[in-house]
């Protein structure tokens, strides 16, 4: 694959901002001069629409996965799926069509696509689902893809219709059994790997989920990459806030060296 596109800094225009079940939202932003993106990349969004006097509280932008994009009337519409978890995402949820949102992206390193003989097993929990749609779409062109989605409850799932429309293999687990099988998405991964076919595992979600995926994949001799979330102030390797502890020594930056990492390089005991 080619080098990642250079990021842009712009004010994106809100096109759509709608509820997506539970506390989840779907935001569609219109951006001029979008350089394209690679699966797994993210963007930094200002915490709410821009105001005449710039808002300083909350101060920091929020990292959000680029879910998918499409060309529209000479510009690009960028879809972001996010969950309202606090004041910053709460203000984002209130942004109205036509309002502008500070935007820096695309940022970070991509997911590598699977080899032609490998089945791609994409495991995502909660908001981690937003990070894997583009990967599912591109990996499907290369071979067999199975997507395993997990959430606490049916209302917490995002993007299910989109994945169904893609036509990839799709299995769902919810902790309360309100959709799919009752239990954890990691249990679906365990069964999916049981066949012994060569597979590559991609995981994005809560740290405990990704760590368990890494263990399960290692137990089956399957390579596993994860996409980490972390607090970050800048998103492009400067604030050094998003340190991910490495097994060897020291730290990698989630924004610059990730968010996609080979699961084996991380010191899982200390991943926040």
């Amino acid at each position: 694959m080619s080098a990642p596109p250079l990021p842009i800094r712009t004010d994106a225009t809100v096109v759509v901002n709608r509820a997506e079940g539970g506390a989840n939202r779907r935001l569609v932003l219109r951006v001029e001069d979008w350089p394209g993106f690679q699966p797994g990349q993210f963007a930094m969004l200002s915490a709410g629409a821009r105001t005449a006097v710039p808002r300083t509280d909350p101060l920091l932008p929020r990292p959000m996965a680029v879910y998918r994009t499409r060309s529209q009337n000479g510009a690009t519409e960028i879809e972001i799926l996010f969950k309202v978890t606090g004041r910053g995402t709460g203000l984002l949820a209130e942004a109205q069509p036509g309002q502008r949102i500070g935007f820096v992206g695309p940022l970070g390193r991509r997911f590598e696509l699977p080899d032609s003989n490998q089945r791609a097993l994409l495991v995502a929990g909660g908001t981690g689902i937003a990070s894997i749609y583009e990967l599912a779409q591109r990996a499907q062109a290369a071979g067999r893809v199975t997507v395993l989605l997990g959430a606490r409850s049916a209302a917490d799932l995002m993007g299910v219709d989109d994945f169904e429309a893609l036509g990839v293999g799709l299995e769902i687990a919810t902790e309360d059994g309100s959709k799919g099988s009752a239990g954890l998405v990691t249990e679906l991964l365990e069964s999916a790997l049981a066949s012994g076919d060569p597979a590559r595992v991609y995981a994005c979600g809560p740290t405990a989920m990704m760590r368990r995926c890494a263990e399960i994949a290692a137990g089956h001799g399957a390579p596993c990459v994860v996409s980490l979330e972390n607090r970050m102030a800048c998103g492009f390797g400067v604030c050094l806030g998003c340190a991910a502890p490495l097994r060897e020594a020291g730290y990698a930056l989630v924004c610059r060296d990730g968010p996609v990492f080979d699961a084996s390089v991380l010191d899982w005991e200390r991943v926040p």
């Binding site: 842009i8 710039p54 920091l60 972390n230 800048c234």
Partner: protein
């Protein structure tokens, strides 16, 4: 009037095309910002603080939000002075004015890092980051004890002939005293303020939000503290001052100039908008035009305090 506006400034012997620099630790090694703005548009930039050997920083969580501010505890993470010279300096466009920032845990370390930087033509000046914990004094910041600060500035002054800036810690009782110490030891300029020491707590877990417990508070919340300290320092010394603290706009820059700063550094705002520093240069020029001021230096120390 004033068809051409003079934005130039002089910071202790460092000629600047304009008074807008970017602050150490918030602008990486410069090239990270190349996709977002023309680096040569800036007055200059202060690179991430350097130690003798490469260092890892603190464990996560390293950052947290506070009202109109962020709290960080990154610690010493940097590539080390030798890699900076070999890889980072040559990667910068020729027209960028680079000030190197240094920190260490012992005075000898500061002096050695300065020595190595002083043979580099691209290093326009050296800024001492005096907010590092001094191991020999039990971990208080170098900049918190006038005697320790004095010894530090003296040692670095002996090690370099380059313009020498000292970035002062705000975590002191009397900033004027610290400014006088720098002047007495032959510094060429002072930069202030560094981050304000702070603590944030999660009431649910009953733990500090940062792994390091304490962190440095930066952003718009600290701007009035910074303005106050710049004003106090400007009245205490003749040294040029580089004002730092919560600047997000050209209006903020003007405030610092009025309080006595000859130049400023943009810090945390670079995270919120990586193009902001270039826009501030444009807006500063527009401010001067709007107010009919021909030279930006005419604003320095021009604060008008009405007599009561």
């Amino acid at each position: 009037m004033a068809s051409s506006i003079d934005l130039s400034a002089d910071l202790g012997g460092i000629p600047l095309r304009n008074p807008v620099l970017t602050a150490s630790g918030t602008f990486g090694y410069g090239t990270e910002f190349a996709p977002f703005l023309d680096l040569e548009r800036l007055g200059g930039f202060v690179a991430k603080s350097l130690t003798l050997a490469p260092r890892f920083g603190n464990p996560p969580p390293r950052i947290a939000e506070a009202p109109s501010a962020m709290l960080n505890a990154i610690s010493l993470e940097n590539v080390g002075v030798d890699r900076f010279i070999a890889e980072k300096l040559p990667a910068l466009p020729a027209g960028v004015t680079v000030i190197a920032s240094i920190f260490e845990t012992a005075i000898e370390g500061y002096a050695e890092v300065s020595k190595r930087l002083s043979s580099e033509a691209r290093v326009a000046g050296i800024e001492i980051n005096a907010s590092c914990p001094h191991v020999k004094s039990g971990g208080i910041e170098f900049g918190q004890d006038p005697a320790v600060l004095s010894e530090l500035v003296r040692a670095v002054r002996r090690a370099t002939a380059r313009p020498l800036l000292v970035k002062l810690s705000p975590n002191v009782t009397d900033i004027a005293e610290m400014a006088r110490v720098c002047e007495g030891e032959g510094a060429d300029a002072i930069s202030l303020i560094n981050a304000v020491q702070g603590l944030e707590v999660d009431p649910e877990t009953r733990r500090p939000v940062l792994a390091n417990v304490l962190g440095g508070l930066s952003g718009p919340a600290i701007r009035p503290i910074a303005l106050r300290m710049v004003w106090q320092a400007a009245r205490a010394v003749k040294l040029p001052i580089c004002g730092i603290g919560g600047i997000t706009s050209a209006d903020d820059v003007v405030k610092f100039l009025l309080c006595g700063a000859s130049a400023v550094q943009i810090g945390t705002a670079n995270y919120l908008d990586p193009a902001v520093s270039g826009r501030i240069v444009d807006d500063l020029e527009a401010y001067l035009r709007r107010h009919g001021i021909a030279r930006v230096r005419d604003l320095v120390g021009a604060l008008e305090i009405p007599r009561s």
